[in-house]
Symmetry: C2
Subunit: 156 residues, 2 copies
DNA sequence: AGATACTGTACCGTTTTAGTCCTATATATG
DNA sequence: CATATATAGGACTAAAACGGTACAGTATCT
């Protein structure tokens, strides 16, 4: 079925919620407003904060916010943040690890054609395209409305 | 990691082997030449024969062959044959089934943007692009060489 | 009739995933 | 400085998915 993890699915829910609210929100806050259980939200946000997608602030009044302008975050990034490099099979990755049939295996990394194709298409889907409002708004209205919601952005 | 099943991986190995050999090959034959265990090869071929990719002939001297000109088979078809419809999450599918958070879930099928993008890119990767020889040959040489190997094609 | 080869289904052990919890660390506030 | 708040990191467990195998059935060739 070419699935992504359920966690990745939830991540998009949470990220869209974050897109809607103030610039800095706590995990508990996001859990309450998204309906996703707190431990799960925590896990997701922690993962995302390790990349260039989210930025975290520790301590009282801390929380998570976007590390970059959210309009410029692609789904490829989100998926990679939660599931590692986009590689459809173990064989096709850059890593040396391969199946036991290496000698006879006539593939030798030819899934990379598929990987590249998928990677490219995911680069072109933006996180904000996942917002339900997206389908009712034209791209310009959308970005300006998001910009407005995020007046006090974190990312300097 | 956005994986496909291991079975799908093996399917490509076996299909490429079939691409190389005679038009009609038995499962045992393909198992021997590809190195994939017979029961597994059987399972894969059975699945593929349910679609328009392979065609089966029962009884002595039977086997499997392509149901259509193999140059026109896309990876999207192969993946769908083995894993069902290309849908990255349960939510996004056409089926009514959705997560438990339906009410609050702000997604409502917005993974479909991702699904469509992936589907489109997989439509453009052909099965023959997975052949190791593919990278050393230009498209025309390749299709003619495949056509030559498959002179007595099954598909009318 | 017998041998060959696909068809369908059911089963089980292994691996992966989802979800939870605990301890450590950082920061704001009184 | 003490305390409350919040993230960081990692370990652990129960559940689901997957891979692989086996078996009984059907079709076809010789």
């Amino acid at each position: 079925m070419l699935r992504v993890n359920k966690l990745t699915d939830y991540a998009v829910v949470v990220l869209c919620d974050l897109l809607r609210g103030r610039a800095l929100r706590s995990a508990a806050d996001l859990s309450a407003s998204s309906g996703v259980p707190l431990p799960t939200v925590s896990k997701i946000l922690k993962q995302l904060a390790r990349t260039e997608i989210l930025q975290s602030v520790r301590g009282a009044n801390g929380g998570y916010g976007f590390a970059r302008a959210p309009e410029r975050i692609s789904m490829a990034e989100v998926i990679e943040a939660l599931e590692g490099p986009i590689a459809v099979t173990g064989c096709a990755g850059d890593a040396g690890e391969c199946c036991e049939l290496t000698d006879q295996c006539p593939m030798n990394g030819h899934w990379s054609a598929v990987n590249v194709a998928i990677r490219r298409s995911l680069d072109e889907v933006r996180l904000i395209d996942m917002l339900p409002e997206a389908r009712f708004m034209d791209p310009e209205d959308l970005s300006s409305s998001i910009a407005a919601r995020h007046a006090p952005v974190l990312h300097a």
